[in-house]
């Protein structure tokens, strides 16, 4: 190709790309949902005199800034393909080991947790201690605590990624809440017990963990379940962030006769809830099917429970998928998430007298506990 031809081809090919994508952007319908990122794309920003005239310190809210930073990237034609190109270039050309802290090992995605945040541990311990001293100590109740490591515990260091010392982390946490009895589930878990594309553990592999928890609190867990599979593909939170493409997964969940007879009440919405919410299962994050997603307070009453014991469980999102497996063992389970509401409100009317109390948190939340109230 001569230099003159080259210049012509450069101009023509660039024009095709630039004008082509411009036209496609204008003509193609905008997507309603970004599947792999599990969020809605930014909508066309409000075009008003006020939004156009914002500048200086207010520029971040201006029409122009929203258009540049949110609307155009979110709605660019073939956005998903471009995201895959970026991931591919990062992993295979630049040989970057992670993408914004997320890495993939043998098809399993995880996120680096390289630093122990001492202040976060202290805050989480302070919040747990508050509950203990306000509601449990005078009644002589000894709570239980169990800590769920994230996948990095098994994957990071072993594969050359940055990792905090999880054993030290757990030790520090337990030392800060030494009034609680520790139930060690870490040693019974493994990376395969978690979804490959998500942070959470997979209920399919939690039967032994449920037994550890119930037995650890003095019960005798021996329930039998039927295994069910959700009919929609599940893309976890890492599907849109991982440096390599991740396959879709199947959500498996267990049911039994008792579950059909329990009463779930969602205090946040002030209406009955469900153990497995099939509407949410078909929503943007199928994991939300477990106990109806992020809800600050639920009660589950089981008239056919093996005992008349109650359980008050303080949990994060990991708790949602294991709590259904504890139902047979308790007449009533009160599920609270203090990230969304203060305990003084969540614990109104809760009777601790014949209740086991369990704090079940993941290292992810304990190491970034600012939201715990």
């Amino acid at each position: 190709m001569s230099t003159k031809s080259k210049n012509i081809v450069v101009c023509v090919s660039m024009a095709i790309i630039v004008f082509g994508f411009c036209v496609l952007f204008l003509l193609l319908p905008k997507g309603a949902f970004l599947d792999s990122e599990r969020r809605e794309p930014a909508r066309f920003p409000a075009l008003t005199l006020e939004s156009v005239m914002k500048d200086g310190l207010e520029y971040g809210d201006s029409f122009m800034k929203q258009f540049d930073d949110n609307y155009t990237p979110d709605n660019f034609p073939f956005r998903e393909a471009f995201r895959k190109i970026k991931s591919w270039v990062g992993a295979n050309v630049f040989l970057q080991k992670d993408k914004d802290g997320v890495y993939v090992v043998d098809g399993v995605a995880a996120e680096m947790q390289e630093t122990i945040d001492e202040s976060s541990i202290a805050h989480a311990a302070d919040r747990i201690t508050f509950v203990y001293e306000q509601y449990l100590k005078d009644k002589g109740i000894k709570p239980y605590i169990s800590i769920i490591p994230d996948k990095g515990y098994w994957l990071s260091e072993q594969n050359g990624y940055l990792s905090m010392d999880y054993d030290v982390f757990i030790e520090k946490m337990l030392d800060s809440v030494d009034f609680a009895e520790y139930i060690n589930i870490k040693d019974s878990l493994e990376a395969g017990d978690y979804y490959k594309s998500d942070t959470h553990w997979n209920q399919e592999y939690l039967l032994d963990i449920a037994k550890l928890l119930v037995d650890g609190m003095g019960g005798d867990h021996n329930s039998v379940y039927v295994k069910n599979e959700l009919d929609v593909p599940f893309y976890g939170v890492y599907a849109g962030r991982a440096p390599k493409p991740l396959a879709s997964e199947t959500i498996t969940y267990y049911t039994n006769e008792n579950m059909a007879n329990v009463t779930v009440f969602n205090y946040e919405k002030n209406r009955p809830g469900a153990i497995y919410d099939m509407e949410l299962a078909h929503g943007k994050d199928a994991y939300d099917m477990f106990l109806g997603g992020e809800v600050s307070k639920l009660t589950i009453e089981n008239p056919n429970a093996k005992t008349d014991k109650e359980l008050v469980i303080f949990r994060d999102s990991f708790g949602r998928s294991i709590i259904p497996l504890l139902i047979d063992d308790y007449a009533k389970i009160t599920v609270v998430d203090t990230r969304y509401q203060v305990p003084q409100i969540l614990l109104m009317g809760v009777d601790f007298e014949k209740a086991d109390v369990l704090f079940l948190y993941s290292t992810i939340v304990l190491n970034a506990s600012a939201e715990m109230k």
Binding site: M1, S2, T3, K4, S5, K6, N7, I8, V9, V10, C11, S13, M14, A15, I17, V18, F19, F21, C22, F25, V52, M53, D55, G56, L57, Y59, M64, F67, D68, T72, P73, F76, R79, F82, R83, I85, K86, S87, V89, V93, F94, L95, Q96, K97, D98, D100, E114, T115, G160, Y161, L162
Partner: protein
């Protein structure tokens, strides 16, 4: 508006190209101005009004200087014009700096004005000054306000340079040609600049931020910070200049080069002949020489040199670290002029180590706003404080960014350019090279688009300029 944005690449550019090439020549500057004002107003409408006022003032002063050419009043108007235009920049850029330091010295609490700096004000202010002074020095005043405004506000170089002097483009404002060859070369230059910014500079910025945020500081970390910061600033700045020069070519303008592989320099003197050349020559022609240059007594010469470097530093930002950054180079240049340069010119290895170390130290001062912290980082390069050499974290990021670091280091030398020239020397290999070049440009544009669509960081270096 940023060059490295979807809005610019896929909306602004197509609209601009269609209109610019659709209208007859006499309207091209009007289209160029209209789009330039839109481009600038996209970053803040009111700031565009300030720029228009500054341009109008420059236009009026230019006419007045020409009217009184050769008379006393010409000098009055050029002084008044320069003072007026500079007062705009002083107000927006330096008010809070002076108040803050006044408060520190006097113990008073004069409230800060919290003035947000209009993007590119330092660049367009210098361009208007260059116009006013060039007219005073004999250049014809621009009668057509649209042409003058098109020169000052021309979007390719408006927010990040190069500082285009009026005398360099005066003729092209009146008459210029457009060709497919120029457009092809301009497009190539633009895409290479865009790739430098989006793929290399942004990655180096990410690495420098990771090092800055790391809890455990090590010697290796400080070196990685210094090197990635230097590479970030170079690739960002030179990438923007490449894009400006490329866009200029597409629209028929020929801007002077702004960077010439500064990291291969062997002295600070050479470095500043290769780094931000348009700023260096601007200060030489509009400050250093008017002050008397080196044709004055030695003590005055010293003052002239330090005045230039004081203002060079201060031009980059209203903070002490920028002043120190400028003066640091002033000191190096004086030492070189009086003693060191002759030794550096004879040395192949020491001279390069010397200037790279000086550049890394200078950019640490440039990038870290608090001087105490900057000195900690500089001390850290040499293990001050008994820190360990490396940690798992620094080694991890060194490995993770190794390819990008090597690409950036190689790309900051003329090696690839030389190889490309050597490869395309025969007619046959030149043809192959042309095909490969087209493929590379298409791939780069697609990859850059991918990085912009899924952008996690796209820093803008010039918000303090």
């Amino acid at each position: 508006m940023l060059f490295s944005s979807i809005s610019f690449l896929y909306f602004f550019i197509p609209a601009m190209l269609i209109l610019y090439f659709a209208v007859p020549f006499k309207l091209k500057n009007t289209v160029l101005l209209a789009f330039s004002l839109f481009f600038y107003a996209w970053g803040g409408v009111t700031y565009a009004l300030f720029m228009v006022i500054a341009i109008l003032l420059g236009y009026i002063f230019g006419l007045l200087i020409e009217k009184f050419r050769g008379k006393k009043n010409a000098k009055l108007f050029v002084s008044l014009g320069v003072a007026t235009i500079i007062s705009f920049m002083l107000y927006f850029k330096y008010t809070d700096f002076f108040i803050d330091n006044f408060n520190k010295v006097t113990g008073l609490s004069v409230p800060l004005q919290k003035i947000v700096l209009p993007i590119g004000i330092s660049f367009y202010t210098f361009q208007i000054i260059s116009y006013v002074v060039d007219v005073y020095r004999g250049e014809k005043a621009q009668k057509n306000p649209i042409n003058l405004a098109a020169y000052v506000a021309m979007f390719p170089q408006l927010i990040a340079g190069p500082i285009v002097r009026y005398c360099d483009v005066a003729r092209e404002l009146e008459t210029r040609t457009h060709s497919i060859t120029e457009a092809g070369e301009g497009t190539r230059r633009f895409i290479l600049g865009l790739a430098k910014k989006v793929l290399i500079a942004n990655s180096m910025y990410d690495l420098s931020e990771l090092m800055y945020a790391a809890d455990e500081k090590t010697v290796l970390l400080y070196w990685l910070y210094g090197i990635s910061t230097s590479l970030y600033i170079y690739f960002d700045f030179s990438g923007y200049s490449d894009m400006a020069i490329g866009l200029g070519k597409i629209f028929g303008f020929h801007f002077l080069e702004n960077f010439n592989y500064p990291f291969i320099s062997r002295s600070a003197t050479e470095f500043w002949r290769r780094w931000h050349m348009s700023l260096g020559s601007w200060f030489r022609d509009y400050l250093y020489i008017p002050l008397g240059g080196n044709r004055v007594p030695k003590w005055r010469w010293f003052i002239n040199i330090f005045a230039v470097w004081l203002f060079t530093g201060f031009w980059h930002g209203a903070a002490w670290n920028f002043i120190l950054w400028g003066l640091f180079f002033g000191v190096l240049l004086v030492i070189e002029k009086f003693w060191l340069l002759k030794y550096l010119e004879k040395s192949q290895v020491f001279s390069r180590i010397y200037i790279l170390l000086a550049v890394i130290v200078s950019f640490i001062v440039f990038q870290i706003p608090t001087l105490g912290e900057a000195f900690t980082y500089i001390g850290g390069l040499f293990g001050a404080g008994g820190i360990s050499f490396a940690s798992a974290e620094t080694l991890y990021y060194l490995r993770s960014y190794a390819v990008l670091l090597i690409a950036a280091l190689v790309g900051s030398t003329p090696l690839i350019k030389k190889l490309a020239i050597r490869f395309s020397q025969s007619e046959k290999s030149a043809k192959v090279s042309n095909v490969l070049e087209v493929i590379m440009l298409v791939v780069l544009l697609v990859v850059v688009t991918a990085f912009l669509v899924d952008s996690s960081s796209n820093p803008f270096l010039y918000f303090r300029f």
